[in-house]
């Protein structure tokens, strides 16, 4: 079969079946959009992990004068002796601790005021209520437990906090988003499969005279099937292109634009995904679209277009 003739047949098929083709395009677009979102969320988790795990610290908060309800703070505020003791304990954990520094009450209060500068809560918190702390950068962030157990309950220590726990909560959330997106994508892919099957069935019916003549004059199975296949692949590729467009819009304006500005202003958090991550998943999306079209068409053609 010549290419010009094939394209003519494909064009006729698409024209005669516009509404079904549009349905296939849209379903493919939505399913690949969800698939892409899931993949991007996964990449976001990886990006953030790389970014945050280097920076997260263990904070050892020292007793404030009011924190007497905690056993290790029964004596009121932390004393100079206790502080020195903790400092020398930290020095002894040389292998585990990469570095640490002390945040005094004044510095902590200053940072607190900076963070909550727009909040009415600010004025009701006295400076003494903000604890001093040792900020510990671990050589290996996974060894948190060792450090925590060494200082938890030590005299003058109110609490030990691992920022990783906070970050991990975010990761859990992002993983759930990613999983939900992929789950929705799977549902939509199932829709796409059924819809493509139905489309081919209808197209085969509307074209049964041509197909019948092709069979009678001895056209090969490939010749008879290939216009259907090309039509489906084209429709899913258009759907994939639209999905990629949507994802690009989401990344470019939603994440790189809006979110980065928002978060950078508030917390200094960076490490968000960008369009580069989108380029990385485009082959997966396009490959997925083609695979979806080819496999589904092949199954539908075997059932509905006899040779």
């Amino acid at each position: 079969m010549r290419v010009g003739f094939l394209l003519g047949e494909v064009w006729n098929g698409l024209r005669r079946n516009t509404s079904m083709v549009v349905a296939v395009v849209l379903v493919t677009m939505v399913s690949l959009f969800f698939l892409g979102s899931g993949l991007l969320a996964q990449r976001q988790v990886d990006t953030l992990k790389g970014y945050w795990y280097d920076k997260v610290q263990v904070s050892i908060f020292l007793c404030t004068p009011d924190a007497t309800d905690v056993a290790s703070c029964a004596g009121g505020g932390v004393t100079d002796a206790q502080r020195d003791q903790l400092r020398s304990d930290l020095d002894r954990l040389d292998g585990l601790v990469e570095e640490y520094w002390f945040e005094s009450n004044e510095e902590a209060y200053e940072r607190f005021r900076e963070q909550f500068r727009n909040s009415p809560v600010l004025d009701s918190i006295p400076q003494e209520a903000i604890p001093e702390s040792f900020r510990v950068q671990l050589a290996d962030p996974t060894k948190y437990e060792v450090v925590a157990s060494a200082f938890e309950g030590a005299p003058g220590v109110e609490s030990v906090e691992d920022q990783r726990e906070v970050v991990d909560k975010l990761f859990t959330f992002l993983n759930a988003v990613s999983l939900a997106a992929v789950g929705l994508a799977a549902t939509m892919v199932a829709c796409a499969v059924l819809l493509i099957g139905t489309t081919i069935r209808l197209t085969a019916w509307s074209r049964r005279r041509e197909t019948n003549i092709m069979r009678l004059v001895g056209a090969s199975a490939f010749t008879i099937h290939v216009p259907f296949l090309v039509e489906t692949v084209l429709a899913t590729l258009v759907g994939a292109a639209l999905a990629i467009g949507l994802l690009w819009g989401m990344v470019e304006y939603g994440i790189s634009g809006f979110l980065t500005d928002l978060l950078a202003g508030q917390t200094g958090m960076i490490g968000l995904i960008g369009t580069r991550d989108l380029w990385a998943i485009i082959p997966i999306l396009l490959g997925g679209a083609v695979l979806l079209a080819v496999i589904t068409s092949w199954l539908a053609l075997r059932r509905h277009v006899r040779v």
């Binding site: 079969m1 003549i213 090969s220 040779v307």
Partner: protein, 233 residues
């Protein structure tokens, strides 16, 4: 060219056979009328030759190939050797006469200049050289059937099957159609025509293979077809 060896065909288990122990040999260049009342098995014979169905028992050989052993990927090449014409013409209504005939060649991957040469040539064979740009519904029944014959012959198959080609046509037009088939036969094409038109059969005096309830009851050169005996007149 076409051989039926003890062929029995049942469409479903337990049904009465559509063909029962049929034994026929059709040679190269023959013209054969397959006659019989509706349901006698004429169309079943045709369908077995183009492998729309497989015989339940026995062997069908076409152009030297045993169809019961033909792998499915070789079915298209078998069909390319057999042109087919039907009672209902089966033309593509949206395409002109030229396009209908060219379609076959396009599907089979012919080159453009081959198509440009063969389409008018084949139209001339059926006497429609001036109707190439017409749409099927602008033609009479006889002309439509001639287009269908041209389409069946355009890739020059050695065998032409015609299943009740005159079933929708008046007697004069039917004669014209069979005359065209006769002319095609004289160029060396094996022609098998299923019909229950006694006038045609008795006028053209060709070999007659008569079926009744799936059994061959007559196989006669320059044979005739008795309508009274068949209950048709």
């Amino acid at each position: 060219m076409i051989t039926f060896e003890n062929v029995t065909m049942r469409y479903a288990k337990g049904d009465a056979p559509a063909l029962s122990d049929v034994d026929v040999e059709i040679g190269r260049g023959d013209f054969v009328f397959v006659v019989g009342a509706s349901g006698s098995g004429k169309s079943t014979m045709m369908r077995l030759i183009i492998l729309e169905h497989h015989a339940t028992q026995g062997r069908v050989l076409v152009a030297g190939q045993d169809l019961s052993r033909l792998p499915s990927r070789k079915v298209p090449s078998l069909r390319r050797q057999v042109g087919t014409v039907f009672q209902d013409f089966r033309l593509l209504s949206g395409k002109t006469v030229n396009q209908n005939i060219a379609y076959v060649l396009q599907v089979l991957g012919a080159k453009r200049h081959t198509i440009r040469q063969l389409v008018p040539e084949t139209l001339e064979l059926v006497g429609l050289e001036d109707k190439g740009k017409r749409l099927p519904h602008e033609l009479s029944g006889g002309e439509q059937q001639r287009v269908a014959i041209a389409r069946a012959m355009v890739n020059k198959p050695p065998i032409l099957l015609a299943d009740e080609p005159t079933g929708n046509l008046d007697p004069d037009t039917s004669q014209e159609i069979v005359a065209i088939l006769d002319r095609i036969n004289r160029t060396g094409t094996t022609v098998v025509m299923a019909t229950h038109d006694t006038t045609i059969v008795n006028r053209f005096r060709k070999r007659v293979v008569q079926l009744r309830d799936g059994v061959i009851v007559r196989d006669q050169d320059e044979g005739e077809y008795d309508a009274v005996e068949e209950g048709l007149a």
